[in-house]
Amino acid sequence: MERVLQYDGSFDGLLTTIFTIYQHKIKSPIIQAPAQQQSSIFGTAHEVITEPEKAHRVLKRMNELSTPQDMREFYKAFLSEVIGIENTLFQYCQQTFEAGKAPSGDYGNSIILKISQAAKMVGREKHRMEAFIRFHLIEDDLYYANCEPDFNVLPLIASHFKNRYADQKWVIYDLKRDFGISYDLHEVVEVTINFKDPRSQRGIVNTGGLKESRFRESENNYRDLWNQYFKSTNIESRKNMKLHLQHVPRRYWKYLSEKVA
């Protein structure tokens, strides 16, 4: 019988679910994140409560049977939030446990192919965010950026920004998923900003799109200089908008001052 298992959308939640499936020997499970709850026609929905300890047991076993590269792909695929990816990831675990070894690089296998494709999309988005994040100095020593990535990539970019901006405090906020990462010169932590609080209100402005800005004067200046640079570096006789859009799809423009201006 098919059983629908609902988890809380977290990585630990998914792993707990996989643990539960094995524990209760559930035959044909369907795993769903909260966002995709449809009233199920398949059977009774069971809500899985995330238990880090169970999650870690699954993770530990997977780590033993896989290469670090496999596990990175696994995690990236999870972050894609593609509908149904949980089930693919579960099948992947199943194959791994059965074979006693992860099927690394078996691209003739549809599960592997799906995971590698999802991971690739997420990887591309990760690079895009590393490229398109634009910081604004909003207090004397705090750099702030809004973003709305297609996939949930903040967990993947934290270390990049931490290494790069080791000497400045920064916050990167995902407005789509309503959480951010914040670095205080020591560590990166997840934060949620209550935008109703007037002090943090500044965070919600679309920093790229706003002409009349509340930022410090010098912020506008640097943005202007950057926009000027962008303009001057273009070569009109080589213009190729199709190619341009391929690199910078329109949905990213609102956070890129050089595209808004």
Binding site: G105, D106, L113, L137, Y165, A166, D167, L225, I235, H244
Partner: protein
């Protein structure tokens, strides 16, 4: 800081620097240290793209566009009647740091007109890099343009602060150079390259003995050639490139389709179309040399002096060497897999990995992402049906051109998503 004035300078000095197509910011080994600013140990990131589709990863500017030379192909040439400007060392440092902190750029690409002597110019460029490294604790990427004719000592010093050094050869043949830049000497370009190569070798061998040896130009050196300003063939260009790759261990050679900037009877007239297609084919060839194990003579030689414009150089090579095909996907070694038209290096890796599990057929290859439209004429796999083996090169070519018209239509780039 006087922003209006800086803005004006940026307008002039970014505009003048934009013809240098080098944009790479990868391949360095400089890690963030002492909790300073920046890190360039990664892959290099394009932070934006110009409307012509080129990557913006560095703040690419001239220190000044004042120049005592008069190279015909250059906007900055002495005889050109344009506004001149110059940045102070501190202005460049401030711009770099502030752009970097906002994640606009990966670092700085600094070039300059030769304002008094090559050495005086080079010395000023080094001062910028030195200040960024020593005073600002900046670990982002720095690319300095070496000034032709600068002394070996200055080149030695430049590499201690820069990640990459480049001197643009600009004109691929000696004769062309003599024609268009009569004040310059071929060896003024070669000498700094030699100095950099020697220094790289020296620091590398010292590093093996003494761990604390400073890093020297960790991302190596590169150069650029203008394409289509003089009458050189693709063979001339690629043989020059090959010479630089081998002789000076260049990391990159860039090809820049000539953009007419001067009314000069020695050059294509203003308004002549930029040879983008040709440029693209040269980059594809360059990739075949660097990553696909091709020898330049296989692609360009006495009988084949120019690249085909209608098909990519790998396909062109395959059609001239049909006797080497078909290649068996399930057995061929890596080197041969890489020679199949429509199969990129990533796909080669996937094929090698996937065939450890099972024999691969058409469906697997399609799912892996291979462009069947081109490759199917050149391979066999475990599927039964296969393309007729009796087609002539011309037949194959016309079938490919017919089936994939969009792929070969007018959208071309110099940064690549190839094969």
């Amino acid at each position: 800081m006087n922003y209006e004035r800086i803005k004006e300078k940026l307008e002039i000095l970014a505009d003048a620097a934009k013809y240098d197509v080098s944009c790479s910011s990868r391949g360095s080994k400089r890690q963030n240290k002492n909790k300073g600013l920046g890190d360039s140990s990664g892959m290099g990131i394009c932070h934006s793209y110009t409307e012509d589709g080129r990557c913006v990863s560095l703040l690419k500017i001239l220190l000044t566009n004042v120049c005592i030379f008069d190279c015909a192909y250059c906007v900055t040439r002495k005889s050109n009647d344009i506004k001149r400007a110059g940045f102070t060392v501190q202005e460049v440092v401030d711009l770099t740091i502030n752009f970097y902190r906002r994640n606009y750029i990966e670092g700085l690409f600094l070039s300059s007109g030769i304002f008094t002597s090559p050495d005086a110019t080079m010395e000023r460029l080094i001062r910028v890099a030195k200040k960024l490294r020593l005073e600002e604790n900046f670990n982002g990427y720095i690319h300095l343009k070496s000034i032709p004719g600068a002394s070996d000592e200055l080149m030695q010093e430049a590499g201690l602060y820069a990640d990459r050094l480049s001197v643009n050869i600009e004109i691929p043949t000696k004769e062309g150079l003599k024609l268009l830049a009569p004040d310059k000497d071929h060896k003024d370009f070669i000498q700094p390259m030699k100095a950099v190569k020697n220094a790289i070798d020296l620091y590398k061998s010292e590093k093996e003995i003494i761990k604390s040896t400073p890093i020297y130009a960790p991302a190596g050196q590169s150069t650029q050639m203008i394409v289509g300003a003089t009458g050189e063939s693709d063979r001339d260009i690629m043989y020059s490139a090959n010479f630089f790759y081998n002789k000076f261990q260049m990391k990159r050679v860039y090809y820049s389709g000539y953009i007419p900037v001067a009314d000069d009877s020695r050059l294509p007239a203003i308004g002549t179309e930029v040879p983008m297609m040709r440029e693209n084919r040269l980059y594809q060839t360059d990739w075949l040399l660097r990553f696909y194990g091709f020898d330049v003579r296989e692609i360009l030689n006495e009988h084949h002096q120019n690249l085909d414009m209608d098909i990519d150089p790998k396909l062109s090579w395959a059609l001239r060497n049909l006797d080497q095909f078909p290649i068996d996907i399930n057995r061929a070694e890596k080197r041969m897999l890489a020679r199949i038209p429509g199969v990129g290096m990533k796909s080669v890796g996937k094929i090698l990995s996937a065939r450890r599990y099972r024999k691969l057929g058409w469906d697997h290859l399609k799912a892996i992402g291979i462009s069947m439209n081109r490759s199917k004429y050149f391979i066999t796999c475990s599927s039964r049906e296969f393309e007729s083996r009796d087609l002539t090169p011309i037949q194959i070519k016309s079938q490919i051109l017919l089936s994939g018209s969009s792929k070969y239509s007018k959208n071309f780039t110099n940064q690549l998503s190839l094969f």
